[in-house]
Subunit: 333 residues, 2 copies
């Protein structure tokens, strides 16, 4: 008995250590799905649309045409697709966009991909909904530089367009309006959705849809607190948060209120590895740099190289299935 007792103690000790190691290994290598349930969510199957602009195939087709229509710009060479390029993750991959007369815009073009899931549009939330968003760049002098009435006149001068407007907005006496132009564009944009990225599949139970490194990264962004802002289906609250970085005062440029200074809409993490450079001013050239800067400025934390490595693995797994879009034929003048 006594002898057995003395043997049992080290055996028990070893068992305890091994168990602890196994638990530790499990914690780091395979975070249980419940860690992220309630933090992240899969991309919804249904895209929200406003009551006064229900999508129809005809409206989506017209919207696709107008999205690629350079004659919506005064120069005739800039379309929505110039800055929200579907070859480039729905952006232009420039720090800030080049528009009319090669003027430089003030901010980095946010991706059009999944933008349908945001209510607030633009970095400073100056528009609500895709329809209102689309009104901006067409008319902005540094972007497409075409006043609304001239845009309508230009499109109406292309005779082939009228049947498409009539089909998209049946029963309207005069369907060719600026309001309907942006409605059609918004309807098309609601098809630019990228489901089934690694996280979506992981959340649906496909455990190996995320690599071990990516799962470790997912744990870290939860632990260090990135998910305070980057959560939900868009990995973004979609709301304004303070980011005091550079000269741009964000929301305050719209409202003039001191309390709105440096408020910017939280960027989505979906397809983030496709949309460098980063931040409202495009000042972070790489995702690595963006991760470190955000942790430092927002969370007052210097990440280790290992932590950055794992977070990168997680963010790189957030590329979904790209929509397949065919170049539309546009009517002749």
């Amino acid at each position: 008995m006594r002898k057995n007792f003395w043997i049992a103690i080290p055996i028990l000790g070893i068992l305890l250590i091994v168990s602890a190691m196994m638990i530790a290994a499990q914690d780091t290598a395979e975070p249980r799905p419940q860690v992220v349930q309630g933090v992240f969510a899969t991309l919804p199957d249904v895209v929200p649309e406003p009551e006064d602009n229900p999508s129809t195939p005809e409206k989506i087709l017209l919207g696709q045409m107008l999205y690629f229509e350079p004659r919506l710009s005064s120069s005739g060479i800039i379309s929505c697709h110039t800055c929200h390029n579907l070859s480039l993750g729905g952006t232009d991959r420039l720090p800030t966009s080049l528009g009319h007369n090669f003027q430089t815009g003030g901010r980095n073009a946010p991706t059009v991909l999944n933008a349908a899931f945001f209510d607030l549009q633009f970095w400073d939330a100056r528009a609500t909904g895709l329809e209102e968003q689309a009104e901006g760049p067409i008319q902005a002098s540094v972007e497409m530089n075409q006043p609304a009435d001239i845009a309508v006149e230009r499109i109406a001068s292309i005779q082939g367009y009228l049947p498409y407007f009539e089909a998209a907005f049946p029963g309207e006496e005069n369907p060719l309006t600026f309001e309907n132009i942006v409605r059609a564009i918004a309807a098309f944009e609601r098809t630019l959705i990228t489901p089934n990225d690694g996280l979506d599949r992981y959340l649906r139970g496909e455990t190996d849809a995320l690599s071990e490194d990516a799962r470790r990264g997912m744990e870290i962004v939860v632990q260090v607190g990135c998910v305070a802002c980057h959560n939900g289906a868009m990995l973004s609250t979609g709301n304004l948060m303070r980011f005091n970085h550079g000269d741009d005062v964000g929301r305050a440029t719209v409202t003039g209120e001191d309390s709105d200074e440096y408020l910017f809409r939280v960027a989505t993490w979906r397809n983030i590895s496709l949309t460098a450079p980063y931040f409202h001013d495009g000042s972070a050239e790489t995702l690595d740099e963006a991760i470190r800067t955000m942790a430092s400025v927002q969370l007052n934390r210097e990440l280790t190289d290992d932590e950055v490595y794992y977070i990168l693995a997680f963010l790189n797994s957030l590329v979904g299935e790209m929509p397949e879009v065919t170049i539309p034929a546009l009517p002749a003048d």
Copy 2:
């Protein structure tokens, strides 16, 4: 007998007149196909390609990516597709193109559609073949403004490209070269073909593929002599012809030879109704105007409104089936 004779004369006369009317009606309303056999030809089924650049699916895919690649330009927003826009009949529908820094180019962008069937490229024939053509706009300071070595460096800096070059140019030690960039683009452009327009189908025996008006127009362009230059499968010889119109001296800008003054490559009529404005300087806003000017300057003939109407009907029938092109996903930086 005598009585019958006097009756027979007017009957014979009437028969003769009716026959003449029937022949006349047939001549104007239904020109026999042999009128145009030997003048025009259907678009060939096989696209010619140079021996040292055979097309493969891998090369075409890479070429499609590079055709839409704005990072081939120094600004990062201009691609081949900017000026040779497949939504707009393979052109930009501008008098002369807008390029880097919104500089205006000197000439109207010729369509990329069916350009594979031309040996001589550019209005002044300064390149032979699509490969040599593609070298120009990438480097031209008023177009994409990217020197060849910088273009290669830029594309090579995007790591995702290398596997595509390796697949397109198997066995090459260093496949990522400027020569291969333009080879791939040319291979893609050889897929931008628009078969089965009205004339193609008419020539294959589908008599009603051309309207009565279009057939009348076809007769007129043969009769007045347009077909001296606008003939064959491209409805263009593809060679240089003198067109003394405006200040641009055409081929002489390349050679400096007086004898080359005002020589320009004959424009194709295929899809011509999609590619306004017209001429090397884009000075003719409409096809109507272009038809009248060409007849006047080249054939010293003022066309009647009726003649222009019928020629327009013929030219409008020359729109073929557009290639269906999907927006390619381009690798991230």
